[in-house]
Subunit: 233 residues, 2 copies
DNA sequence: ACAAAAGTGTTTGGAGTACACCCATGA
DNA sequence: TCATGGGTGTACTCCAAACACTTTTGT
């Protein structure tokens, strides 16, 4: 549990963790339960934490992801900070914060990150006192989330879309190690909200030096098996 | 002077303010003098401030710019936060902070903004206890700046270059209300570090719906006067 | 044999790039 | 009249987009 000499209770990090299940773009959220006058209230929040006193922001975000998933070397990129005084106005959020941190909390400015992870990695959700799940990004706007986390997810989505325009190879962070061109195309279309032509896509992909064709095909599909590829450096 | 009930001494904003003098891209820096054991030490810093307790981050950045220049409606965009514990390790910076704020200071996380302003606006630098000047961005790397402000400027420059790729009309924030195509081209080339062809540039510019030709030409030039344009919405 | 997705070329239009000369003005 | 920058058109290349049929494999 947080301790006031270790933690800096004025600054936090939050991670918008994206994944791809083969069809939809997903975000990882943590279930939160608050006992409020004997009523149990459930909602969701982003993975995050207030920072440690001797910790850099990037380190804090890595720590959060590692504590959550057990993974290291996840693509992680800071995209924006949120510090409006009204992000702390919901009494439920204040109550939850003071209970979980055991600290007196004023305004917290949060530094937001996006992370990209391969959903197929066997993720060990550290489920002692919470559980985490994947949700469609399209469902988020109807959900009940803590603080201003809906806004943070929306901005994170915008950011990663821009970033994927600039650095298309980041798509590979979301795919399994071995993948088919269809999977890559579907992912590309999901993030760019387009429907690209199969032939033109093959052409474009053929010019990517970092995409290497393997001597393997997919297995267990009820039709012609597609060739597998991997991302090289 | 800051007062601990008004100010939040854990979070600050810093502004990387860009301007264009017709030839070079400039950054605004504030002169700082520190009296250190009877030696006067001079260096420079970005305009910035710790935030007020009830103030949003964007508001704090606007306030800083307004206090500095007297202007409102300046283009301002948050681009990154800096919170490494070592940004506060120079004893000169700590000394300066505690003297100017009269507060006990631990680590400060700063939220950095870029701003674009028209250098021709008659800026009233609020020069009671400091003075501000424009410096070539190319000179910055050899200068002595407070905290991690060199890094912040470099990242701000990267950010605004990207942003100008995405939103080319932001260039007009740096030009006077009325300008020539040459001025626009030179500015474009300075920020993109290119040398574009005059004819091709005219062609490109002719397709910008928001660029309107005026019935005026520049004055006082020792050669054929160029047509003036303005930026419309 | 059939259902389902894999894989494969050509044409066309628009955008970017390269390139050189005459024009208007002030000194 | 000369020096200085202003203003203009054409040809080529390359990339993006549109578009339909044959192949492979499992059931």
């Amino acid at each position: 549990m947080p301790n006031s000499t270790l933690y800096n209770p004025h600054i936090s990090v939050d991670c918008v963790v994206f994944g791809f299940d083969g069809e939809k773009l997903k975000v990882m959220l943590i279930e939160r339960s608050i006992d409020e006058q004997n009523e149990l209230y459930n909602d969701k929040k982003l993975p995050g934490s207030i920072i440690l006193n001797d910790e850099d922001l990037d380190e804090a975000a890595s720590r959060v992801l590692n504590e959550l998933t057990g993974l290291k070397n996840i693509y992680l990129s800071q995209f924006r900070s949120f510090g409006s005084p009204n992000r702390m106005t919901n009494p439920r959020d204040i109550l939850w914060l003071e209970r979980t941190t055991q600290l007196k909390i004023g305004r917290i400015v949060t530094v937001a990150y996006v992370a990209l992870i391969k959903i197929d990695r066997k993720i060990v959700f550290n489920a002692d006192d919470y559980s985490a799940n994947w949700y469609d990004v399209s469902e988020i706007s109807n959900m009940s989330l803590a603080f201003d986390h809906i806004t943070i997810i929306e901005k994170g989505l915008e950011h990663i879309r821009h970033q994927l325009d600039v650095e298309p190879h980041l798509l590979f962070e979301l795919l399994p190690k071995k993948f088919t061109i269809s999977q890559l195309r579907i992912l590309h279309d999901v993030v760019h909200r387009t429907r690209s032509d199969v032939r033109n896509f093959q052409k474009k992909v053929a010019q990517m030096p970092y995409l290497v064709m393997l001597d393997e095909v997919e297995e267990g599909v009820p039709h012609r098996a597609a060739r597998l590829y991997k991302y090289k450096k």
